[in-house]
């Protein structure tokens, strides 16, 4: 099944809603808690990157009994140096964002760490797209 959520850059009121919707669905589907948690973390980080760094985007999630695929596509400034952006601790987040507790430069590295497949593409001046796949280990029937 597919879930789709629009994400608006700079809208901190609605920030996190897409990830919250995904969490609700995963709980209903009965995905095991740990897999669900990984999916929630990467979806949240992807959503927040759009809110913080881009203009607008869409977070879409495809859930099957075997895996969870998360796509985050945005229109925005793009990332000029992806290997640099992937480094832990690298962040261009301005001061007022850091004050909100973001901008540690951990989002992208964690997205990679918690997903089984990770791909990021970006065109400067156009936008960024991230694709992540999380495999569902167990049948997830006990939790």
């Amino acid at each position: 099944m597919r879930l789709e959520c629009r994400v608006t850059g700079g809208d901190f009121q609605a920030a996190g809603e897409a990830a919250a919707k995904l969490k609700r669905t995963l709980r209903q589907v009965g995905i095991d808690a740990e897999t669900g948690r990984r999916a929630a973390i990467v979806a949240y980080e992807a959503e927040m990157n759009i809110v913080i760094h881009a203009l607008r985007g869409v977070l879409s999630v495809e859930i099957s009994p075997e895996c969870i695929e998360i796509l985050a596509n945005d229109e925005g400034p793009g990332i000029p140096d992806i290997p640099l952006a992937m480094q832990e601790g690298y962040s261009t987040a301005p001061e007022h964002i850091r004050e909100m507790g973001f901008g540690a430069g951990l989002g992208l590295p964690n997205m990679k760490r918690y997903s089984d497949e990770f791909r990021i593409e970006s065109v400067v001046g156009r936008g960024t797209s991230v694709r992540m796949v999380i495999k569902i280990a167990s049948k997830g029937s006990q939790t």
């Binding site: 597919r2 996190g16 990830a19 589907v29 808690a33 859930i63």
Partner: protein, 449 residues
């Protein structure tokens, strides 16, 4: 679902089906159907939020009555620290304890003393386990249940240490059984509880087998009896043993003040707790060591079964914290015993906190996925006003209920209106039609001529 005990329950005659409670429930456990609220037993955390919300007083809590003292040869009262907060600055804890004994208990063991034990064990645990952060206190059973039901991935974040109540019950029964030479089963330990969540926790423990606490009597039920005895002060035997820090556990922030380790967050009120847990679930707050989370605003002094205003009660507690704060809780040898016991798992309650999959749509993942897909379709067709007049807390919840066969789309008043409109139009069209046996003109008129 059936067979689960809950302290919180609905008094059907009083419920007027107003739907006020459904939006306030942190686990969306309540539905109004056929004009009456219903509580889903699997989801309910006994947080007491609906008791506080209902203007018709249709939600209530079952607690144990004092009659149950008769079931045991020897009884011990385990007063919650919040009980001390119910009385003014001139009342000594010793007087409160003496009043409980006068009411019929054979002995008392302060849960504030149990909190001193929990403080020690929690500190040990946080020091020894650094792999998971933040760790979340498991002292409030409503928060524990909330995590089991709504945040199962955070179960590993719970500190699996017995609550002050359980610590108190264990130690009280053990020492009395040794002292009197009677089996612990003959001793009844009764928690004097500020909340329904503890009642449920106790009943669950009793149901599982031998429990260190046998029943829970509400603070509001003993309040009058205790107050009455305070009015004519009898010489009270000095019995308070708890430290000020232990007493402080009765109000929010007290647990942290007692444990006093690392970075911490104090959060109270079930909806604020949900907000913090949402953050932890997506990997934030990993720089925090310890979260003290309590379902009630103000902590246990704000419990649904307390009497005094929580803010006033908190001030009373704070005074006691200051007065008794400096006293060491335990003698050195006693402390070493407790530590050894903690290391051996003597205060571990991990086995009591498994996930409760109360939101799962189906046992079969594939079927659950198709149902989730149907929910997405149904929800697109609902107005999205989240008004709650259908009896479900919001449009998405109604969609879920429809897919699960627990509601129909015309439970939505807007859907119903649309249906009525369509029906009315069809009726109107039908009314214009003439059966073919009649003439094209008005048949009745034709006959008259």
């Amino acid at each position: 679902m059936t067979g689960l005990f809950h302290s919180v329950l609905l008094i059907e005659e009083k419920c007027r089906g107003c739907t006020r409670c459904i939006k306030n429930c942190p686990t969306e456990a309540i539905r109004v159907r056929q004009g009456k609220a219903r509580i889903n037993a699997e989801r309910c955390t006994d947080c007491g939020e609906c008791i506080r919300t209902c203007d018709n007083h249709a939600k209530t809590a079952i607690t144990d009555s004092l009659e149950r003292l008769r079931d045991f040869k020897y009884t011990i009262a385990l007063p919650a620290p919040a009980l001390y907060g119910q009385f003014g600055p001139t009342v000594e804890p010793d007087q409160v304890l003496a009043a409980l004994i006068d009411m019929g208990f054979d002995d008392v063991y302060e849960v504030a003393r149990g909190a001193d034990v929990a403080t020690l064990v929690t500190r040990e645990y946080l020091r020894a386990h650094r792999e998971v952060r933040p760790m979340i206190s498991a002292a409030c059973p409503a928060v524990v249940r909330l995590i089991q039901v709504r945040f199962p991935a955070l179960i590993d974040h719970l500190i699996p240490v017995d609550s002050p109540m359980t610590c108190a019950g264990k130690l009280a029964k053990e020492s009395k059984s040794r002292e009197l030479g009677i089996p612990p089963e003959d001793i009844g330990a009764f928690f004097i509880t500020p909340c329904p969540a503890k009642v449920t926790w106790v009943r669950e423990a009793v149901r599982r087998g031998f429990s260190s606490v046998d029943g829970a009597i509400s603070i509001s039920d003993v309040y009058g009896e205790v107050s009455r005895r305070l009015a004519s002060p009898a010489p009270a035997p000095a019995r308070r043993k708890a430290s000020g820090a232990g007493i402080g556990w009765g109000g929010s922030g007290g647990e942290n003040a007692a444990v006093g380790l690392g970075n911490y967050i104090v959060v109270d009120g079930i909806h604020s707790v949900v907000g913090v847990l949402e953050e932890v679930e997506v990997g934030r707050l990993a720089d925090v060591d310890f979260i003290e989370a309590q379902a009630c605003v103000g902590g246990c002094v704000g419990g649904a079964l307390t009497v005094r205003n929580p803010f006033i009660a908190h001030v009373h507690l704070e005074r006691l914290v200051k007065r008794f704060g400096d006293l060491p809780a335990f003698a050195a040898s006693e402390e070493e015993d407790l530590r050894r016991r903690a290391r051996a798992g003597g205060f571990d309650m991990r086995q009591d906190i498994a996930a409760v999959p109360a939101f799962r749509l189906d046992h079969d993942v594939s079927r659950a996925i198709s149902k989730a897909e149907m929910i997405e379709k149904v929800v697109k067709d609902l107005p999205g006003l989240d008004c709650g007049s259908c009896g479900s807390p919001h449009c998405r919840a109604l969609a879920e209920d429809i897919v699960q066969g627990l509601a129909v789309d015309t439970d939505c008043v807007f859907k119903l209106r649309d249906q009525v409109k369509i029906l009315a139009e069809q009726l109107f069209d039908l009314a214009k039609k003439n059966p073919s046996a009649m003439s094209a003109e008005d048949g009745a008129k034709g006959r008259k001529e």
